[in-house]
């Protein structure tokens, strides 16, 4: 007699797998940390996504504020300010996009907020082959403390593939 494992793993049995959604929509906040990554995020946002929101980090904004505020740190792609805490609160996952050598100061603020709210952080740094080692190292040092998953990719196409794989 065929064992249970042999029967269950057969091609014939695959027909009886339940064909129903097995997950709910995830809220993934994709945040561009520097100017170059803003352009990438703008291009990404034109595609169709299940539950991704595309934002930019405005690293200079709080410096202009007299009192510390969470409202100046993020903006949507139309330039409207977004409250960092609100955005993190409603996120299942935060993906920070950066380019090697860019100004990534905002990573620490976003990372700290995610840490407080127990939101998983992924940082993706684009580093074309021409990037200088020193520039990449500086950028990594800014991201590393705040990313539970850090990806160094050579091409922009990877970001779209990653977001699709994560059902963003």
């Amino acid at each position: 007699m065929q064992s249970e494992s042999a029967r269950a793993a057969s091609r014939a049995e695959a027909r009886f797998r339940i064909d129903a959604p097995n997950s709910r929509r995830r809220a993934v906040k994709v945040i561009a940390l520097d100017r170059d990554s803003e352009r990438i995020v703008e291009r990404l946002a034109r595609a169709s996504w299940a539950g991704a929101a595309f934002l930019t980090a405005n690293a200079g904004a709080p410096a202009r504020e007299k009192r510390f505020s969470m409202s100046g740190w993020l903006a949507d792609l139309a330039g409207h300010a977004k409250d960092l805490v609100d955005e993190i609160d409603s996120a299942d996952q935060v993906v920070m996009i950066a380019t090697a050598g860019g100004n990534l100061e905002a990573a620490s603020i976003i990372g700290e907020a995610c840490s407080l709210k127990q939101v998983m952080t992924t940082a993706l740094i684009l580093s074309p082959a021409s990037t200088a080692d020193a520039a990449l190292s500086r950028s990594l040092a800014q991201l590393r403390p705040w990313a539970l998953m850090l990806v160094i990719a050579s091409d922009e196409d990877y970001i779209a593939d990653m977001l699709a794989a994560l059902r963003a």
């Binding site: 064992s3 494992s5 797998r17």
Partner: protein
């Protein structure tokens, strides 16, 4: 998650498929050298990339790998007589040399030259490092012979095994680059398996179940770094190597040998899992070899006379529910290799990746798929040589190191991730 069309491109490797073309760009392991131990030994059936082949070692020691079936009436040449410089079909005596060229058709006058018109499809087969390797792509694109470190060290420093895995190659390979499962599925083995136990690094693994990951593209594939807290603010890093299309090297533990795998498609529903262990600077000890032969570490016990694991789906992998309940084994299946294989086979012949829910710690898997798909497209569009063919891409090592918190592993462990002849691997 993948689209069905992407899943098909990655998982189908038969002749004429995009994924098959990718695999046909590389030298791939076909047989253990010991399967053809002497001249004129019995031929061996081989199925690779959905092609049925026959391998033999002729009277002069020349290795042949060709279409399994006689061109005359389609008889399997597994029944053939390996004699006097060729493999002869026992049905009507047609004989083939190691290149598949027919050299005798007894029913036809030799002067007719008929046999010169008959040739079976064949592929080169070469021996290196205890493995017989083949290249199944266009002859004019044959790459240089493989230079994986395990294949170049003296024989006494190496142990090779292979086993049939009854699922598609990709879901098996993805297990090899999924570092986050070790703290769960294999946690019982780190302190008990003779090929792992005793390493200081094991304790970092067991103490920290929420590691932090870094995935970095390399020229040939990926470096997958996983860091856990160590003493004095330092990090314990384990760096896995993946080289396209299906070579992985697991980070070492203590002074144990380094090990890893190749996953080679037999057909779309089955693959060979090749497992190697080697030490760059010393011979393996008798105790280590005995443990490897006994199925410890990444190796398995076999159904006698086969390469099928003794624990397999037909006996429910000999799962021991009492051991699982008592905490002696996390999964209840014995041995690291079958703990992985049992779960991967349970997904079905080809897992439906349109249904999966990946998370960010799966970025190694996501990136590997991305690179494979990119290489397949570049082959189709530009006939580009894929990563992993270049011998420099093969000169990699996995590593386990302790680094200061502010040192990126890519910089601080650069040397440790490269083959340095005569130097031991970096391990904790």
């Amino acid at each position: 998650m993948l689209k069905q069309e992407q899943n098909d491109r990655l998982t189908q490797t038969g002749p004429g498929t995009p994924g098959g073309r990718l695999f046909r760009s590389y030298w791939i392991p076909a047989l253990l050298a010991e399967e053809l131990p002497e001249n004129d030994c019995p031929p061996v059936r081989v199925k690779l990339l959905s092609e049925r082949l026959i391998a033999f070692r002729d009277s002069q020691g020349r290795l042949g790998l060709m279409d399994e079936f006689c061109a005359h009436r389609g008889v399997s040449l597994w029944f053939g007589r390996n004699e006097e410089g060729g493999l002869r079909c026992p049905y009507h005596g047609w004989k083939y040399d190691h290149t598949g060229q027919c050299i005798e058709v007894p029913s036809e006058p030799a002067e007719s030259g008929f046999c010169a018109k008959i040739k079976l499809k064949s592929y080169p087969l070469i021996e290196r490092g205890g493995v017989l390797w083949t290249y199944m792509g266009p002859p004019e694109k044959q790459p240089p012979l493989p230079e994986w470190e395990f294949a170049l060290v003296p024989a006494a420093q190496r142990f090779m095994s292979k086993r049939i895995q009854e699922c598609n190659w990709l879901q098996a390979m993805e297990g090899g680059i999924d570092s986050s499962h070790v703290s769960f599925l294999h946690r019982g083995e780190l302190n008990t398996d003779p090929l792992f136990r005793g390493a200081r690094g094991n304790q970092y693994n067991l103490r920290d179940a929420r590691p932090v990951f870094e995935v970095v593209e390399s020229a040939g594939g990926l470096h997958i770094g996983v860091r856990r807290d160590a003493e004095n603010g330092n990090y314990y890093w384990r760096i896995t190597q993946w080289v396209m299309p299906s070579f992985t090297m697991i980070p070492p533990r203590g002074n144990h040998a380094i090990h890893g795998h190749f996953w080679i498609p037999i057909d779309d529903d089955n693959c060979w899992t090749w497992s190697y262990d080697y030490h760059p600077t010393r011979a393996l000890t008798e105790e280590e070899l005995a443990a490897m032969r006994a199925g410890k570490g990444v190796h398995v016990k076999y159904v006698p006379g086969t390469f099928r694991p003794l624990a397999n789906k037909d006996n429910d992998y000999l799962i021991d529910r009492a051991a699982q309940k008592a905490g002696r084994s996390y999964s209840g299946v014995e041995g690291i290799a079958m703990q992985d294989a049992s779960l991967q086979e349970s997904m079905g012949p080809i897992v439906d990746r349109t249904k999966e829910n990946l998370v960010s710690t799966d970025n190694g898997i996501i990136m590997a798929r991305h690179r494979l798909l990119r290489a397949i497209k570049a082959l189709e569009d530009k006939d580009a040589v894929p990563p992993g063919v270049d011998l420099v891409h093969q000169r990699v090592r996995s590593a386990a190191v302790i680094l200061p918190a502010d040192r990126p592993f890519m910089e601080a462990a650069r040397e440790a991730m490269t083959v340095r002849e005569g130097t031991a691997h970096a391990s904790v």
